[in-house]
Amino acid sequence: MNPIISVSNLSKVYSNGYRALNNVSLDFHSGEILALLGPNGAGKTTLISIICGIVNPSEGSVTVGGHDIIDDYRITRSLIGLVPQELTLSMFVTVWNTVCFSRGLFGKKPNPAYLEQLLKDLSLWDKKDSDILTLSGGMKRRVLIAKALSHEPSILFLDEPTAGVDVELRKDMWNLVDKLRQSGVTIILTTHYIEEAEEIADRVGVISKGELIVVDDKEALKHKLGKRQMMIELENAIDKIPDLLSSWDLELSAEGNQLTYTYDTYSTQTGIAELLRAVDGAGLQLKDVNTSQSSLEDIFINIVNTPLHTR
């Protein structure tokens, strides 16, 4: 399947000489929800801004729906809706007028029925004649989402959509994202909250210091990079780990009744079977065995703190 967006060898050097993106290549699949995860300053907004046409790339190219973002900007930009990170809105315009403006700007003929439904979905309908100035921060964020969706885009970018957003809006937003995804819209969101990526994304890309470090299915990523732990509960407490088990990386709990074995899921030899046999051989009685997998958060911290060359 052709990717809906294809980013190849993209770099950005700002006029002050700062290299915000370094040779990033990434494909976005049609209809997926992809989360770009990375700390502040990683280059997430820069990447989105280039795809949307707000920032010029320094090197590399991007296609959207198979069209180059520079040569065929009219086609590519009309496919995209962007909810920016900052609350950038004209203050002295009504909600209704600002969404009509956005729709027209993207070359769509007026469609009051569609915009009415959109504002209702975002609980903005009763505010339609209010000036933006009078709205709360959460309401302004809703207006930005309405503007981004006003021209019925097939790709939606959400740049840090939940930074400083209340629970209700968060819930509404994920409902909307769900609805959009069902109608086939591709959704790309950036965040530095891992739970968010874990909750809703199909795939996760990790960006750090302008480089794309990894991108993969959420589950595969957890699987590939996650550490697993096996907790072995013992019938009878022991004082120390028996010598027979010294070749495994084991930890004994304070009460002496639990051994914890940590291993990488991606190593070919986990040694679990041997360990269990050895535990038996050391004369220990098993009571229970549990395994746990690290969350994306653990993985993330693990990746971002790891120097590039060791991976």
């Binding site: 700002y14 006029s15 949307c52 046409g53 707000i54 920032v55 010029n56 900007y73 009219r74 086609i75 590519t76 930009r77 009309s78 995209i80 962007l82 920016p84 900052e86 950038t88 809105l89 004209s90 203050m91 002295f92 315009v93 007028n97 009509c100 403006f101 956005s102 729709r103 027209g104 700007l105 993207f106 070359g107 769509k108 003929k109 503007k147």
Partner: protein
């Protein structure tokens, strides 16, 4: 293929913004022009009866219109493009499927329309005070429209260049107003000492006012062809500058 919806909404909402602040947009330039008119017309007009056969009150009408047109075109157009840059809402225009020419058409078109309306209101108002005669209405209209467009272009350039509200005010205050006052709005150039007559020929506004006044009373400081040529040249320079700014993404795109 042109994105006509985009041009239309930019134009419409720029005009709507003027309508929302109608006092500031239309009433204040008209009132200040009437004040000039009353003060200059009656104070000086009581001493100078006529200039080249035209009553002084009527003589200054084209110059007063030019003063209002120039300052309003520049401030409207510069504010119109500076404000979205300042608030950050420019991101939306930049991410839209719209060409720079279309952005220009929307913003400059709206600013020029506003100035045109102000010009017409001033003309009608002046007609209530003095007897106006328009010898060449087509030329008059032509100068009016060209002035609105070219100085809105200049305003657009200033709005792109400015990085603060101070800079935005700077050029209209330090350049436009003096040029208009020294541009023969209230006198003919040959009333000046010879040295200043020569200096005045470097002031582009002289050509504008002269041509515009000629279309009313057939009285001019320089030939009408020269006036027209200078206005067209000025428009061309502004257009070329805007074109360069867009090509390089000047102050719009990193």
């Amino acid at each position: 293929m042109m994105n006509t919806y985009a041009v239309r909404v930019i134009y419409k909402y720029e005009m709507l913004r003027a309508w929302d602040t109608i006092m500031q947009s239309f009433a204040s330039p008209v009132i200040s022009t009437i004040l000039y008119f009353v003060v200059f017309g009656s104070a000086i007009g009581s001493r100078i009866e006529t200039v080249e056969g035209v009553s002084y009150g009527a003589f200054i009408v084209p110059g007063l219109m030019m003063l209002a047109l120039l300052t309003q075109s520049v401030s409207n157009a510069s504010f119109g493009i500076y404000f979205p840059r300042f608030t950050g809402t420019m991101y939306e225009v930049l991410s839209a499927p719209i060409s720079f020419a279309e952005i220009l058409l929307g913003y400059v078109g709206a600013a020029a329309t506003k100035s045109f309306i102000i010009g017409v209101i001033i003309l009608i108002t002046a007609g209530l005070f003095v007897e106006l005669k328009i010898a060449h209405p087509i030329w008059m209209l032509g100068f009016l429209v060209l002035t609105c467009i070219s100085f809105s272009l200049l305003g657009f350039i200033i709005g792109l260049w400015a990085n603060s509200f101070e800079q935005l005010q700077l050029i209209p205050m330090l350049v436009i107003t003096p040029l208009v006052f020294l541009g023969g709005s209230f006198y003919t150039i040959d009333m000046l000492p010879p040295v200043w007559q020569t200096v005045s020929l470097f002031n582009p506004v002289v050509y504008l006012v002269s041509g515009f006044r000629w279309s009313f009373y057939e009285v001019s400081d320089v030939s009408i062809q020269l006036s027209l040529f200078m206005v067209l040249l000025f428009s061309a320079v502004c257009l070329a500058t805007v074109w360069w700014m867009f090509k390089t993404g000047y102050r719009l795109k990193q």
